[in-house]
Subunit: 328 residues, 2 copies
């Protein structure tokens, strides 16, 4: 293993000089700097992360707690993680993937000085991890928006605004009765933050626009077909659909189109999902992109800012935007 001492010897300087060349924390003459850098390159030196973290009391690692259970929204989770990892590297950080999504894992990472900060995904309204985090003394950012905002920095998509946007669009297309085909029943009934916020925005917008809006939980498998069938049978007047359910989307889109054709009207669907998912489903009027990768990147930016400049905790909601009609 090449150590900083080897580099120092080769460059004919002291160990501390090498260290200062690398960190830039003290002025070093150009000539010396060149010599040291050449030595570093030619020896292929890279500093021992453990030694560095021991001496500097920081690891340059961020812990990421991601919901690894398969199920809803794999694409979204994946893209958020991608955004986090990519952006972290930009800032010179690496990502430690935390296993279980409990408080224990967070504590282990923090107290063992394995990470400088923590990023927690899939936060629920009354998540016990929030308390854990505040007791930990490590900076942290939540991806998600818990109820009764505590003084914890959060980053999320503005689901409420997305609800409004979808309704506005469907109304503009001339639809008077609108249904939100949403998350699976288990997500709805846990009152997961994003599902609640979406429904809230959706219903408020319906009322503001003077149109009829209903919210329906929907399994994310093929069973979604039955759900949609039931909705369309119960109220044949519904012609506008706002779908937020990645797994169900292909089934739902097909079903709605078929039944619409059969009864002779033209239902419209606005989907809320990542862009590439929308693109792979035919027959969508429009879609609202969940900017999953951007969410991950934003959360990472925020935590890096807190780490470097001690920035204040803040809540950041990324605004929704309509994407033009997808696959015809």
């Amino acid at each position: 293993m090449v150590t900083i001492a080897d580099v120092a010897q080769k460059a004919g300087v002291s160990i501390s000089t090498v260290s200062y060349v690398m960190s830039g924390k003290r002025a070093i003459s150009q000539e010396t700097r060149d010599r040291v850098e050449k030595a570093i390159d030619s020896l292929g030196f890279s500093p021992h992360a453990g030694a560095r973290s021991l001496a500097s009391r920081s690891t340059n690692v961020i812990g990421l707690q991601a919901p690894l259970r398969t199920g809803v929204d794999v694409h979204v989770v994946m893209q958020i993680v991608t955004g986090v990892v990519t952006q972290a590297r930009q800032h010179g950080y690496d990502i430690l993937l935390l296993a279980s999504d409990d408080s224990k894992a967070l504590q282990r990472a923090a107290k063992g000085s394995m990470v400088d900060a923590l990023l927690v995904m899939d936060v629920e309204s009354d998540d016990p991890r929030i308390d854990t985090l505040s007791g930990l003394g490590h900076p942290s950012v939540l991806i998600g928006l818990p109820e009764g905002r505590r003084a914890v920095p959060c980053v999320d998509f503005d689901f409420e605004a997305a609800g409004w946007l979808a309704v506005d669009r469907l109304v503009a297309l001339g639809h008077q009765r609108i249904a939100l085909i949403g998350s699976p029943p288990e997500v709805m009934s846990r009152h997961t933050s994003y599902a609640d916020r979406l429904a809230r925005g959706f219903l408020a917008a319906c009322e503001a626009n003077g149109v009829d809006g209903t919210v329906h939980a929907c399994p994310s498998s093929a069973e979604s077909i039955a759900t949609v069938d039931a909705v369309m049978t119960d109220d044949p007047g519904i012609t506008g659909f706002f779908v937020h359910n990645e797994g169900a989307l292909p089934h739902v889109a097909t079903t709605i189109a078929q039944r619409g054709r059969r009864r002779g009207d033209e239902p419209a669907i606005v989907a809320l999902c990542p862009d590439d998912v929308a693109r792979s489903v035919p027959g969508l009027a429009d879609s609202i992109a969940v900017p999953a990768e951007a969410i991950g990147a934003a959360a990472t930016d925020m935590i890096c800012e807190i780490l470097s400049s001690g920035a204040k905790p803040a809540v950041r909601l990324l605004p929704p935007a309509l994407t033009g009609a997808a696959t015809p």
Copy 2:
């Protein structure tokens, strides 16, 4: 921060005794052990990971290079990662998620002593990372099966056997003309290892069974519908389908069923995908589960074994198994 010295003082023993209690590397009397453990608990001590890695020259971290690009097989990637993370924790390891999927990232992690070993996913037939790995001096396991097996340990699903199994099943169901609806064209044309192996097994089994088999690349979006349409039009005699394309599966299943109904026969589909994906798609005859989580776990087990007992590199292929008919 609580250090080992605090624990030692509280327990009235030396630092080294505390260390030996934790590592179990030397005999310690039960009485002393109890006292130390009580001190550890009451102080909430957890050792500094950096200090530990500096002194012991091992990090208890495994680097995982996962293909984070969205696209094909998000579920599979996700499940493999889950398997890896979960199993690693069982063995006392944590996972460092490597950003870009190039050699640089591997070198950075290894040479910086950030990890004890490397796990590399999505390996292609002639992947340059294989050479990088052998030059690194760190144990590593590939998830995937590169061509011309080098002396690198590999874990993967036995795609070739899966090809045989699917054909056997379709033949048993009475189908005489069979099509493999496979990966997207870009995957096929890169000669990605798994796609090749699947096709090889499929074609060999067709020949052995004396049935007609053809292989078709297929986009993983709704465009897959056109592909299947074309296949069924070109050769109306094809009634058995073997689908290995997660994104296309819902579309393909629907299309095949519809056209089959229209022309009055009963095509059968065997899908190759994770179990829960299969369950969410209606109309599958059977499916062959890709045991993604098990693959991740197996790879992790293998690398841990190499780390602990210096086990020999080996290739391990997980066998396919038919899962009973899915959603009716």
